[in-house]
Amino acid sequence: MEIYKITADEIDVNAVINSVIHPEAGAINTFIGTVREFTKGKQTVSLQYEAYPSMAEKQLKRIGHEISEKWPGVQSSIVHRIGKLAISDIAVVIAVASPHRAESYEASRYAIERIKQIVPIWKKEYWVNGQEWIGDQLEKTAYPNGKPEEDSK
């Protein structure tokens, strides 16, 4: 049973993986996004994720739908955590099961790229001496088309 969820709790990686296992699947690709300590030499202390949860879950479901249209027979689950996270905490888990390995990699990669385009989740980074919402909140650059690109539908 596929899962598309925003949660404030720790993500159970096994539960996400198990949700996509099925007898026709021979390959399961899992992507886990964790909080990285250093980005371009800058030290992160913690992160805070905020979402528009009801819409974010709809968008996650939509990504799952896009995947099953692009790669028939491929099952996916996506769980994204919100709230305050520490170094190495898991922020997002994507699991994709497919008959053959190529599609499991492609669909998983597609899912993470789409999350970064269309799912209303925001990350605030806390450093030793400051904090900032990531994602060009101050609009110094615009989306080229005024909104995220929406392929496939």
Binding site: E50, A51, Y52, A91, V119, P120, I121, W122, Q137, E139
Partner: protein, 77 residues
């Protein structure tokens, strides 16, 4: 009556996560202009908008009871 939602940096900037406004039959672009007059520090020019949890273009008309959410550039994952 419409509900307007703000998130992340924009929410911190105006100090509110939600506004109620007696507006309807108004284009999103006009609603943006009105809110930017009310909160001079707020920039919504290139912010995406969702109406009732679906992305909507700036020329879309906001109807009574709509939930309008301003979606600054996302940074999940």
């Amino acid at each position: 009556m419409i509900t307007v939602l703000f998130f992340a940096g924009q929410q911190e900037l105006i100090g509110e996560d939600k506004l109620k406004r007696n507006e309807s039959q108004m284009k999103i672009s006009d609603l943006k202009t009105k809110l930017m007059e009310e909160y001079p520090k707020l920039s919504l020019q290139n912010t995406m908008t969702a109406i009732n949890e679906e992305y909507a273009e700036d020329d879309r008309i906001v109807e009574d009871n709509d939930i309008v959410a301003f979606i600054p550039p996302v940074s999940g994952g």
